[in-house]
Subunit: 198 residues, 2 copies
DNA sequence: ATATGTGAAAGTTTTCACAGCA
DNA sequence: TGCTGTGAAAACTTTCACATAT
């Protein structure tokens, strides 16, 4: 679903107005009836004989997905990946603002990266209140991922995205999502090994 | 499937020897018969009444997934994310070695990052031969992702992992895989918006 | 004419339940 | 007794095909 938003944004940038399910399907490499099913799910948005008005469709999808507003995020773990996230303009442009950075390394605490002072992870709770943090991003080494998660949970953060290659456990009322490069590379390696030609 | 490898590696680190489908299921947050089905797929590896021997299982899975060897990778796009990837030790530890870095910005060409000289993207083809590159990693801005892809394809790279938030098109004999942070954040935002409690 | 919305068919994945082996 | 391997059932997803609207 989020893929559609991406494709539609690209189309809008190229001054397109209307798109057919077939057109969007080609851009996303999926089947056209898939698209129609998905889009029909939140109201009859298409115009028969014409297609979908990109502007309206995007607005409806953004609302549906909960990205018609900004989300305040806290970064835990300011290594190379954490720094890359802090400097990543794409995230801010999409409404995901990193408003605080934390690390447990005493040498890093107090350092300023991309305009953000790094705080001790213990101060998460106090700063969560002040800054209205809703999402936590974990970019620690894998062995510290669970501890970072616990700090976030204790602070009352209900949504966590984990960039560390480790499975972490959270209570039922907390949402956890994973981004794991090595995982994706393994998938790729598998595909390359198994189907060498064709 | 790659998740199991991760969980099993963590267990091995904690000096475990044997694991039951139930135990692995708990660690991965999945159903136990799922695990049995998946593991049974490549031979009868479990011992009834006992469980699975982690060492043997890992070896079998690594072979099956094609990660019982090293893969040479080329990075295209040396921005913040690219730098983070170059310095990411986890990837090398898992056998994914970045052996060359490319960028089309004349100011970056010749610079050395984490022991790697940055080359002009045009020289991809020539260096692919020398270094035995099998996987391309795209970490350019989204609008340059397709061009980077084309360079890789022209050089004969058959496996690509795209970190840029853009859909790219490749011929049928080339495998493409996506890693998109904003996509994951959107998913998270959606889950947080729709199920605020429970 | 053209392209959506949708029921019904086909395909895939997940879960259950239990026979069979250590 | 304890845990795997697996057929059969249930749940879910994808695709097709066509009636329906502009």
């Amino acid at each position: 679903m989020a893929v559609y938003v991406q494709a539609l944004e690209a189309m809008l940038q190229e001054n397109m107005n209307v798109v057919s399910s077939e057109g969007l399907a080609a851009a996303c490499n999926v089947n056209s009836s898939q698209i129609r099913k998905d889009l029909a799910y939140f109201g009859e948005f298409g115009v028969r004989g014409v297609g979908y008005y990109i502007q309206d469709l995007l607005a409806a999808m953004r609302e549906y997905l909960g990205i018609n507003r900004e989300w305040n995020c806290a970064l835990v773990g300011v290594g190379n990946l954490g720094r890359a996230l802090l400097r990543h303009k794409q995230l801010a442009r999409k409404g995901f603002l990193i408003v605080a950075a934390f690390d447990c390394d005493p040498f890093k605490i107090g350092e300023v990266v991309a305009g953000h002072e790094i705080f001790c992870t213990r101060r998460l709770k106090e700063r969560k209140q002040d800054l209205g943090i809703e999402i936590g991003m974990i970019a620690t080494p894998p062995e510290r991922a669970q501890r970072a998660t616990n700090h976030l949970i204790e602070a009352g953060v209900k949504g966590i995205i984990n960039f560390a290659p480790a499975i972490v456990h959270v209570p039922d009322d907390t949402v956890i999502d994973y981004v794991d490069f090595s995982q994706n590379l393994i998938t790729l390696a598998f595909q390359l090994s198994s189907h060498p030609s064709s």
